[in-house]
Symmetry: C2
C-alpha cells in the first residue's frame, strides 16, 4: 500500500476540519484565537488524529464520523505542547522550527491558549455537529475515554511525574510509568476511540487496544532514541542503554503487528503506521 | 427563609461530593492529586455549584442529579483561579488567606494542577456516575453549555482580553465584554444547566436564564466595588464611578428578582442568593 498517499489524504481531512472547528481569528476581540491557531497550524504530524481515522476504517467504519473527535484529540495534544514549552516547564523557544507560543504571544496568552484549546476540544466533542448520527451514549463514552487519557491517570499525570523526576536517577519502573501515561495513553486512546466510533466488535476492539498500547509505548521509546543527546530528561537509552532500547522498540512493533492479524487487509494502514513510527523520521 | 442554613446544607453536599470525585492523593505516584485537592479545599464559597443545585430545585428537580455537574463547575472555577494566580498572570502569593498553588507546589505543578482539574471536570461529567438516569442527550447538552461558558467565547476569552487590557484605558463597552465573558458566563451557565437538569419548562428556562445573566453581571460589578483599591485592573468603579457602579448593581439585582417572579416560592433560595451576592461579604 502507498502509505505516503494514505497519510496525505487523512492529514488533509484533519487539516481542513481543524480550520473549520477552531475559532476564527476575529471570533472575539482578543489575540486568543490567533494564538490557538498558531500552535495548531505550525507543523504537527497529526499522528493521533490519523490513527483514530485509520482505526475507524480498520473496522469498516466511516472515518468522517471520527473526524471531530480526531480534531479534538489534536487540540488536546497541542495544548499539552504549549504548556510543556512554557518557561516554568521545559522552557523551549522553538518547536518544529517555529517560535513557541509564549515567545510569540507572551507567557500569559500561551497559558490561556492552552487552556482554551483543551476546553474547545470538549466543547467540540459534545456539540451536535460532532454527535451527528452516533449514539449519544457512545459519544459520552468517547469523551470519558479521551478525558481519562488526557488527565490525572493519563497524560497530565505522566507529565507531572516527569517534571518531578527531572535531574533525578529514575528506575525502569518509573520510566515506564511516565511513558505509559505521558505519551502512550493519548496514542492508544486514539486507536481505541476510533475503533469504537467505527463500530468495532469486542474482538476487534481487543485487538486494536493491544495494538494501540504497543505503538503508544514504541512511539516514546523511539522518541527517546532519536533524542539521545537530551541531557536532563529521563530517557529509555539512558536507563537501559541504546541497544536494549532499540530491541524494545522492535519488540513493541512485532507486538503491534501481531495484534492486527485478526483484522487482515483492512488493517494495512495501521501496520504501515506502526512500521513508520518505529522506523521513522515520522 | 433561612438562607444561612440553605447555603450550609448545599455547600456540605458539594464538599462531600468533591471529596469523592477528586482523585485521592495516592492515586498516582506524584504530587499532582495533592496539588489539585489543595486548591479545591482552601476556602471557596461554592457559589457556582450552589446556584446550580438551587436552580435545579427551583424547577422541581432533584439537586442530587445536578451534583456531579456542580462539582465539575467548581473544578473548572478552581483551575481558572490557579492559572490566574500564576506569576505570568496576576502573580498572587495568597488567595483566601492561603498560599497560592505555585507558591506551595512550584509553577510547573500549578500549571499541571489547573490542567488536570479542567480535564477531570469533563471526565466526571461524561462518566456513567454523572449520567445516572439523565437522558444522554441532555448530558451532552450540559457538557457543551459548560464548555462554551468556560472557553474562548466565555471565561478564557474574557480573561484573555482582561490580560490584554491591563494598564490601558478601557471603555465601558470593553469592560462589559470582559465582565460578561470572564465572570458572568460561568455564573449564568450554572443556573441554566441546573434548570435543564431539573427538567425546566421553556418558560422556566427563559426566566432562569434572565436571572442568571443578571446575577452574573451583578457579581462582577460588586466584586469591583469591593476591590476599589485595585490599581492596575479595569474595574467598573474606575470607568463609571462608584455611585453609578452601585446603581448598576442594584438595577441588576432588581432585574434578577423580577425574572424569578413566574417561579414563585420555589425560587426563594435564588432570590436570597441574588440579594446575598449584591449585599454581600459573600
Amino acid at each position: 500500500m502507498d502509505l505516503e498517499a494514505y497519510l496525505r489524504e487523512k492529514r488533509e481531512m484533519v487539516e481542513e476540519a481543524l480550520q473549520r472547528y477552531l475559532p476564527q481569528e476575529d471570533a472575539i476581540p482578543s489575540q486568543l484565537p490567533k494564538a490557538m491557531r498558531y500552535s495548531v497550524f505550525t507543523g504537527g504530524k497529526r499522528i493521533r488524529p490519523v490513527l483514530m481515522l485509520a482505526a475507524c476504517e480498520a473496522v469498516g467504519g466511516d472515518p468522517r464520523k471520527a473526524l471531530p473527535f480526531a480534531c479534538a484529540l489534536e487540540m488536546i495534544h497541542t495544548y499539552s505542547l504549549i504548556h510543556d514549552d512554557l518557561p516554568a516547564m521545559d522552557d523551549d523557544d522553538f518547536r518544529r522550527g517555529f517560535a513557541t507560543s509564549h515567545r510569540v504571544f507572551g507567557e500569559a496568552m500561551a497559558i490561556l491558549a492552552g487552556d482554551a484549546l483543551l476546553t474547545e476540544a470538549f466543547r467540540l466533542m459534545a456539540s451536535p455537529e460532532a454527535r451527528g448520527e452516533l449514539p449519544e451514549g457512545l459519544v459520552l463514552e468517547v469523551i470519558a475515554d479521551i478525558a481519562q487519557a488526557a488527565g490525572v491517570t493519563g497524560m497530565v499525570g505522566g507529565q507531572a511525574l516527569d517534571v518531578e523526576s527531572e535531574g533525578r536517577d529514575v528506575d525502569l519502573e518509573t520510566l515506564r510509568w511516565i511513558h505509559h501515561h505521558k505519551t502512550a495513553a493519548m496514542i492508544s486512546v486514539a486507536v481505541r476511540t476510533g475503533a469504537k466510533i467505527g463500530g468495532a466488535t469486542s474482538e476487534e476492539l481487543e485487538a486494536l487496544e493491544r495494538y494501540g498500547k504497543a505503538i503508544g509505548l514504541a512511539f516514546q521509546v523511539v522518541d527517546d532514541i532519536l533524542d539521545v543527546e537530551e541531557e536532563k530528561a529521563a530517557t529509555y537509552p539512558r536507563v537501559v542503554g541504546l541497544p536494549e532500547a532499540k530491541r524494545e522498540a522492535e519488540r513493541l512493533l512485532q507486538e503491534a503487528l501481531e495484534a492486527l492479524e485478526p483484522l487482515r487487509e483492512r488493517s494495512e494502514p495501521l501496520q504501515a503506521i506502526a512500521q513508520f513510527i518505529v522506523e521513522r523520521s515520522f
